[in-house]
Symmetry: C2
Subunit: 368 residues, 2 copies
Amino acid sequence: MKQRNPKSKLLMGPGPSNPDPRVLRALSEPTLGHLDPDYVAIMDETAELLRYVFSTKNALTIAVSGTGMAGMETAMVNSLEPGDKAIICTAGAFGDRMAEVAERVGAKVVKVESPWGEPIDPEDVRKAIRKNPDAKVVGIVHGETSTGVLQPLDDIAGAVHEAGMRIIVDTVASLGGVDVPTDRLGLDVVYSGSQKCLSCPPGLAPITLGEKAVSFIENRKTTCRSWYLDLGMIRRYWSFERFYHHTGPSNMIYALNEALRIVKEEGLEARFARHKAAQEVLIKGLTELGLKPVVNEPYRLPTLTTVYVPEGVQEGEVRKQLMDEFGIEIAGGLGVFKGKIWRIGLMGTNATKANVIRLLGALKEVLK
Amino acid sequence: MKQRNPKSKLLMGPGPSNPDPRVLRALSEPTLGHLDPDYVAIMDETAELLRYVFSTKNALTIAVSGTGMAGMETAMVNSLEPGDKAIICTAGAFGDRMAEVAERVGAKVVKVESPWGEPIDPEDVRKAIRKNPDAKVVGIVHGETSTGVLQPLDDIAGAVHEAGMRIIVDTVASLGGVDVPTDRLGLDVVYSGSQKCLSCPPGLAPITLGEKAVSFIENRKTTCRSWYLDLGMIRRYWSFERFYHHTGPSNMIYALNEALRIVKEEGLEARFARHKAAQEVLIKGLTELGLKPVVNEPYRLPTLTTVYVPEGVQEGEVRKQLMDEFGIEIAGGLGVFKGKIWRIGLMGTNATKANVIRLLGALKEVLK
């Protein structure tokens, strides 16, 4: 069998991003038992670091043992009982997925839609809330990876809470790269993935739940439909009780721990500014190449830039050439944007001027 | 923040076991995009190696992006529709969990029970099948980690198939250490975990499905209740179609790939013989120390040995001393065996005479 030899590439798609070498080294630290005191101390520290990046004091803040999509399912299956009504905002592929996941856990879903490339209008959410006063939760994507839109949350969170509902926020593409104001807005359930702006390999899904969300778990009438993702049990593993639920993925937790230490060393404000600055260089360069951004300010997601493919250009060929000749990964469009846009990630470690200049140079060469 | 420094310990509990250094190194290979051609080639090779350890030609053979318990839930949620009847065999904690997971996915569960420490009696399964001819599946644990019993499968698989039902087998504690005769017995769904006899860190759940199980997925009347674990979609990601479902946990897949290469280099027969030989040395040594095995032959699980705690001995203290003074992890009992037994794993890389002698020396010192 020939040697397995994955080459290092510059990952400027929608994630995963390149982990810092420190994070890759942390992965190979010795595996420990899932109840080993040394391991559970690392779990505790990781939870504390997650509170820092989520800007929260929420006790129930953990990493789910699965990828970002496991985070989405954990959020839904622990926030809804079968038959509950959920208002799901969708203006892209991940909003659509949220609606589908909510339906699968048994919810009646009401959608609030916006065209791809635009944010959700808070007024539309208010209307949906007035029409559906029996809804229990409102779900919304903060950074829509399929469109590059950064969704403002202040107005919508306010409207949701006035109505006595809970808000579930997908921050898979924003956590660690853009401010996620969990406690400031009292966001009830917020989840993410390890592999984007945290620059940890894929495989873990950070999640945090506020008091109302925890109260739902404690008082639900039906058993959670998922055993694996049941936070009612998982939180007892992450608490001092150390209730055995599943075998904690120790090596991935080491990596997340190291990735979060790097975030904390840099500081959230500096990190957000770095992402923003890198995107500014990128937008300027793309514009000079004659490319047009999909999203207008102030709705541009700093961590993922979307840009239209020029007429007559085979977008897949460009991506293939970027990969084969320059070792750079960018992504094409999903859904209605398939074949029409490129998606360029500037996530975590990768959000630097040097990477932007490297990509722009390669892109110029490929497009000429 | 002080340096994270998990010390290397000899993991002789019920898993995780110690990964080979080659496996830990594989973890830190460069992270790749989940649709990168280099990465999907590694997925394909990993699936082929999984077919080798599962002794199967099943096309649908993959690693679920979660721990062994995600494997159990994947098996259940993809084999049952709400209201379906499931016969679940339980003679330990993991049989109990199987019943609970089946109930949560909406099944009506009929239990076939045996006392902890004994195997399931095939005659009891036949009776349950006769009483419940409308049951769709029979679930059973091959290596019961809570009791140390190796469940013979031939008779039971025969009875299940005669009745036109499907058999789901938990091989979390046996795959890679004991023969798992997937194709020989036509086992319909077989799942495992990465962290036991495969000696890969925890975080992945190998699973394989035969034709009848695949046909169930293709013809089910209700949508799978789990989006994250829906094999109808996941198999399209693991197939040539490369349908985007979730972000593949690349670094963990590298580790599993390397762990499986090690299994193949050794060869299954040699590996099974090594596990068996190591347990023989262990049983002999434990007997010389005056300790009595819980399980009688021929039902002893070679990969996990259970032994009674002698009267008057504080079992937790012994484990703590083994860990603190000798860096060796063994486990206590679960459920009815709590405080009454020790569980000693000889899994994968760890199943050697040298490790057994090291443990026996330490145990003799602690017990004297």
